[in-house]
Amino acid sequence: MRCKVCRGHAVVDIRRHNAAFCPDHFVDHVTSQVAKALKEFKMATVEDRLLIAVSGGKDSLAVWDVLMNLGYDTTAFYLDLGIGGYSARSKEAAVAFAGSRGGKLITRSLREEHGFTVPELSTLTRRVPCSGCGLNKRYEFNRAALEEGFDVLVTGHNLDDEVATLFGNVLGWNTQMLGRQRPVLQERIVGAGDSRAFVKKIKPLVRIAERETAAYALIRGIDYIVEECPMVEGNTQHRYKEALTLLEEASPGTKHRMYFGFLKNASDRFAEDRGSAELIPCTDCGAPTVASGAHGVEKLMCSFCKTKALAHARRAERTNDSVHGAEQR
């Protein structure tokens, strides 16, 4: 195949665009698609300070790379989840990339901040790792962005991520999530004050398929972590991606049509399901939580603090049990 632009030897073919590209023109193509999304959805300006949540994986490192090349003011944030060797290796990938590009990187560790890792939290709360993990990441990303004074939080969600989430929300008719699934989530203010509760969040890779972010990373020499998180097994999101990829294979453009068709023709129909309940500060950490439906003081804690309190309470119970057991022996 030949490059659509220069007729040189092509290395990537994109069937839904009916096009193939040489390495240089593929990089240009991805960059212009990201620039288009940034403009189309009014994601950010070059004056904004952007915080990019990076995991050491291809998508988050790719979005950071593209935004740096486009001249945005970027800093990356890595959260160490404490998932054994996998976390150690993914952190190495993020640190090495930052070093090679001279990018600014902030790292924090869940254990140092809150006293548990993702596997420990899962055992203590008896919930699947991904649920606690997601809660932790959303909380910590938002907290870091607010504390460090960033205007926008950037995530590496690509077209495959978004269409799989959409598919899942449609299968379960989760109208609240359908109302909220946008490439941009505007910042929200807590109570009547003017302090920011949730930072603005953007997904600049929505026009790029996962296969393309992987190709981009490879061509740009980004040494991302290929290995999967060991906790991922049996993940429904992954099954949806595989199913949608089969449809895409048979009919290129299916994913793009489903996602962008949703944004254009359906998203606003779920606007009133979005939930605009007033936000109040969590009694524990001050982070925003939804005021409605709260009974009693305990309920005014945000879901992160509730989960954290549960984990620490269970750990204390265990320690008591084992101390007790030792005394009896």
């Binding site: 073919d13 590496g156 969600h157 296969r211 290995e227 998180c229 991922v232």
Partner: protein, 74 residues
């Protein structure tokens, strides 16, 4: 002699005889091409690329899992 193929997650090696193109190789292995990148000598291959009998090829899956608060499936 055949095409040496490295598959990932979990990592394993296979030797496949016969395929002349990337598409033929993927069909033989029943791999969905939209879900992978095919790499030879650190270079990406398009689906119509021809394969030689002693080529060493990596088939790298690109779809990650996870609940994705940060993308990447992580």
């Amino acid at each position: 002699m055949g095409v040496k193929v490295k598959l990932r997650n979990p990592d394993r090696l296979l030797e496949i005889s016969g395929p002349r193109t990337v598409t033929a190789l993927l069909n033989q292995l029943e791999v969905v091409s939209e879900g992978v990148l095919v790499i030879r000598d650190a270079t990406l291959l398009t689906r119509d690329e021809r394969l030689g009998p002693d080529d060493e090829i990596e088939i790298r899956p690109v779809l990650s899992g996870g609940s994705h608060p940060a993308g990447d499936g992580r």
